[in-house]
């Protein structure tokens, strides 16, 4: 399986995702934002970080960079595109996912482990996944998902919510919502479910010595689904 990770100026989780993808069997290539062509890929990942210093709005500049034309074409042709954290922000700014990520409700940068609950397994990202509730790490200032009333209706009608913030038992409520996200949304799909954005970082949970292994379960399952 071939994957590509795009590096924007200010990306800082690109190498972490590279390590995670390679650990679970992807042949990964790093792609510079100024390139025009994507290498042959089964999965494209937009990593976390602070592309363009979060100027104007998080992800807004990166969403207009040269490589994004190829990413848009790839996604529109059904290619799998995953955005993590800043990558999620870039995907909404590029119009590949609905809505927007606002400043966290209590105006603080949040850096901690949270639990997320998988909402929809009928897609390449979570099909046959062994667990429903994952402990992932979040580190963001703008993760407060928001969209219009019409958009949230469409998102629910099409079962586009990928992940909810929950507690360790899977309860989705205000207490388990770290940033004020609409309906506790931690990750969403596009209508076709080939594009996914999420605020948590599964790539930070692939080593039992450092963190935990819930990310390992996610990446292992993902490559099996793409095979």
């Amino acid at each position: 399986m071939n994957s590509s990770v795009i590096t924007f100026p200010g990306s800082n989780c690109d190498r972490d995702v590279d390590i995670a993808l390679k650990k679970f069997g992807f042949k990964n290539k790093m792609v510079w934002h100024d390139d025009l062509e994507l290498p042959k890929s089964d999965l494209v990942v937009l990593p976390g970080g602070f592309s363009y210093g979060d100027y104007l709005r998080c992800g807004s500049m990166a969403s207009k960079s040269k490589i994004m034309k190829s990413v848009l074409n790839f996604a529109q042709g059904g290619g799998k595109v995953m955005g993590i954290c800043n990558g999620f922000q870039i995907l909404v700014e590029a119009g590949l996912l609905p809505g927007v990520l606002l400043r966290n409700k209590y105006l603080e940068f949040i850096c901690k482990n949270v639990f997320v609950k998988v909402n929809n397994k009928d897609n390449s990202y979570f099909k046959d996944v062994k667990k429903d509730i994952y402990e992932f790490h979040i580190a963001h200032n703008e993760g407060n998902y928001f969209c219009s009333n019409d958009q949230i209706k469409e998102i629910n009608d099409n079962n586009q919510i990928a992940l909810f913030y929950s507690d360790e038992n899977g309860n989705v409520n205000e207490k388990s919502n770290p940033n004020g996200s609409l309906q506790n949304i931690a990750g969403i799909f596009n209508k076709q479910k080939n594009v996914m954005g999420m605020m948590p970082h599964p790539e930070r949970m692939i080593d039992p010595a450092l963190s935990g292994e819930d990310g390992s379960i996610f990446f292992e399952n993902l490559i099996n689904n793409l095979r």
């Binding site: 104007l56 606002l102 400043r103 928001f146």
Partner: protein
């Protein structure tokens, strides 16, 4: 021609920064405030001398980059 445009959050979008600014102003003794909403201001100096054309260009910039229309409105307030 210099075109000035302001970008504001839509009415029903929460503005936590505005809220904190309001609380601070209240704390400083400015008691009579109903609400504070924070926005952005841009001055765009273009070589286009036709006012209508310059405004149309800036409007396109707003739609494509300067504003996110899911949460923000834009308004051209001056061209000279």
């Amino acid at each position: 021609m210099k075109v000035s445009v302001i970008i504001t959050l839509k009415k029903d979008v929460l503005d936590p920064q505005g809220k904190v600014i309001q609380q601070t102003l209240n704390g400083m003794g400015f008691g009579d405030i109903n609400e504070v909403r924070q926005g952005k201001y841009f001055e765009i100096d273009t070589n286009e001398n036709d006012k209508k054309k310059a405004q149309e260009k800036v409007e396109e910039m707003c739609k494509k980059l300067l504003a996110n229309l899911v949460i923000e409105n834009y308004k051209i307030i001056d061209s000279q």
